[in-house]
């Protein structure tokens, strides 16, 4: 058994649309170490959801996988047929929790039936055993009076409880990997905190490896061990959560961190990233982030930067890390902010 339960190597995906080919994923590399939590962060359109859809075989019809491998415990999922993927991997080995619990649950089925559906599909299990297991799962995700709730329909539950049910459905076949796609965006902060704690507890109990797709850096800070920052179909920086939050190296990561005020921020203006993400209908030349980057160098317009290694676990794709690059001064707001958060965390 390797160290990584899931490894994505050089994934490259194009969508064929009426307007032309959209090069959505442009060589993504990504590792999920066994039992750990990895976050994928980036703006909408950066390719984080598409990457995960490729893992679960849920890509739309018009997607073409140009190259790459998705290794799950050594098996390349891209070589499996859709049928094999559905029968032996999806739901059983890799399960997903979606953003909106209102649309990801079937309004016409009781929640008990929805939890048991996967078990009947993937496992030889008797109805009474499945029932018992479903009740246990409901208890595990913290739903009181589980027996009675089995007969409830989604509309009878609150948003937070529905998301707990979605998690119970995802866990019903004892998966090894749980992919959470913005699992708490639709929920209130207090409910969000409880759901995140719940996923953490279950992860320890069931030895799950978890992938979070999110743009909320607060959530990332709370749950992640490792962070991958995506921009325009590429991972542009990855590292441990400490490295990304206390010592970020890519100007885009700087922008993301400073755009979200912490409770200490009292500057007159928020540091914001100007412009908007590129339209991947037109392949960007050089570094895709260059037009929004005030630290862009001449070479950024000509050639996309490779990954520069900063430590064993930390790399970033920016020419600023090239030994010949001029040294840049961090924006003052960000510098103050990093100092503040390092101090609060007793880091370094």
């Amino acid at each position: 058994m390797g160290k990584n339960i899931l490894s994505i190597e050089n994934l490259d995906i194009t969508f064929r649309t009426n307007a032309g080919n959209v090069h959505a994923i442009r060589g993504v590399n990504f590792d999920l170490p066994r039992g750990k939590t990895v976050a994928l962060v980036g703006e909408s359109g950066s390719g984080k959801s598409v990457t995960m859809k490729a893992v679960t075989g849920l890509l739309d019809q018009n997607a073409v996988i140009n190259s790459g491998k998705i290794l799950y415990d050594g098996t390349d999922l891209l070589t499996l047929s859709k049928k094999d993927l559905r029968q032996s991997i999806n739901g059983q080995q890799i399960a997903m929790v979606f953003q909106d619990p209102m649309t990801s649950l079937d309004p016409t089925m009781t929640i008990g039936d929805q939890i048991m559906e996967g078990m009947f599909l993937h496992k030889k299990i008797s109805a009474s055993d499945a029932r018992q297991k479903a009740v246990e799962l409901l208890k595990l995700v913290g739903i009181a009076e589980a027996e009675r709730r089995m007969k409830n329909y989604p509309h009878q539950l609150s948003g937070g409880m529905r998301q707990r049910v979605v998690i119970a459905v995802a866990l019903s076949c004892e998966p090894k990997i749980l992919i959470c796609d913005e699992p708490t965006t639709a929920l209130d902060v207090t409910v969000q905190a409880r759901i995140l704690n719940l996923i953490k507890d279950i992860q320890a109990e069931m030895n799950l490896s978890v992938i979070y797709i999110t743009h909320d850096l607060g959530v990332v800070a709370k749950v992640a061990d490792f962070v991958n920052v995506m921009y325009a179909g590429k991972v542009i920086e990855f590292g441990t959560v400490d490295e990304i939050f206390y010592d970020p190296r890519h100007p885009y990561t700087w922008g993301l961190l400073s755009a979200m005020p912490d409770l200490e921020t009292d500057d007159d203006r928020l540091y914001s990233i100007p412009g908007s993400p590129p339209n991947l209908l037109h392949e960007p030349k050089g570094d895709a982030f260059a037009p929004r980057n005030k630290f862009a160098l001449k070479i950024d317009e000509l050639e996309a930067p490779p990954m520069f290694k900063i430590s064993e676990t930390h790399s970033a794709a920016t020419w600023l890390l090239h030994p010949d690059a001029p040294k840049v001064e961090l924006p003052a707001e960000l510098k103050a902010r990093l100092l503040r958060s390092r101090k609060a965390a007793h880091y370094g």
Partner: protein
């Protein structure tokens, strides 16, 4: 202190669902907004924050209580003069820039609609100039007036929403979750724009949101809502440095902080809302401008 621009007194908003079931969305909420300041309203979903915004701008008819704006009473029946004053001086920015702009109208006509209705120009040229200037102010170009909403990104559409509100030169803008549908990097752009505009035009904002770090950043004063009751209000500093109400404490303990080592060791302060009885409570002074809802005794 100056006269408040908006005075909400004991506002109640109930919705009758059936003969024997009424949703009490807002129960006796009072607060004031002064000219040029930003008042943040926070609370969980169902706490009534959106309802309050909509009652103030009279999208709903308040069930009880009084609202004064710009020295005039704007609750109850409106005479045509007050109605006109209200429509010109109070504007709203909505949450979802996708559904709040009419897809069949050009951007210029969306922004200019208020001007058309209130006949605030004498020639067509003047109208187009006003619209062009407004587009520039929110960081778009006058040429965009000829385009349709679907030709814009989410951030740009929210700029159109802001332009539409601003063109009337309002004294108060109600911003209802106006940045929550946007990406983080775009949120910062829009918030900066809103701050710049406030510096320039001295308009006041009622900023309704659930993202507490953003509310803290933009607001001068804050009101915390729970189940239709204002449980605590005060200056941003008072609320964040000394939260008194247990619900506020619980809410603040749940705000995710972008700081991994701090975040991983944080404890959530639980709040059991089941035995909260706000009926027999009144807002009581803590100090300064800081009030908290507490049992009367």
């Amino acid at each position: 202190m100056a006269e408040p621009l908006l005075k909400v007194k004991n506002l109640r908003q109930h919705f009758k669902i059936s003969r024997d079931f009424t949703v009490k969305a807002v129960n006796g909420v009072s607060f004031e907004i002064y000219p040029g300041e930003t008042y943040g309203l926070v609370g969980e979903s169902g706490s009534g924050k959106t309802t309050i915004g909509r009652s103030i701008i009279r999208l709903y008819d308040p069930t009880g209580g009084r609202i004064f704006f710009n020295g005039k009473r704007i609750s109850g029946k409106l005479d045509s003069q007050t109605d006109k004053m209200l429509r010109q001086n109070m504007q709203m920015i909505f949450q979802d820039p996708m559904s709040s702009l009419n897809p069949r109208k050009k951007i210029g006509d969306i922004i200019g609609e208020g001007l058309d209705i209130h006949k605030l120009y004498s020639t067509q040229v003047e109208r187009n100039e006003l619209i062009g200037e407004m587009l520039k102010k929110v960081g778009l170009s006058p040429a965009h007036a000829e385009r349709y909403p679907q030709q814009f990104s989410g951030g740009q559409r929210q700029r159109v929403g802001i332009a539409r509100a601003l063109i009337m030169n309002p004294k108060l803008i109600i911003a209802d979750e106006c940045i929550s549908a946007l990406d983080v990097s775009i949120q910062a752009q829009v918030v900066n724009l809103m701050k710049d505009i406030q510096h320039e035009t001295k308009c006041a904002y009622l900023f309704i949101a659930h993202d507490l770090s953003m509310v803290k950043y933009i607001s001068d004063r804050i009101g915390v809502l729970h189940k239709g009751w204002l449980v605590e209000t005060g200056s941003t500093h008072e609320i964040f440095s000394n939260p008194v109400h247990p619900y506020t404490q619980s809410l603040l303990s749940a705000v995710p902080q972008p700081n991994p080592r701090v975040e991983k060791n944080r404890r959530l302060i639980p709040y059991d809302s089941a035995n909260a009885d706000y009926e027999h409570c009144t807002l009581q002074l803590v100090d300064g401008s800081h009030f908290v809802l507490a049992p009367t005794n």
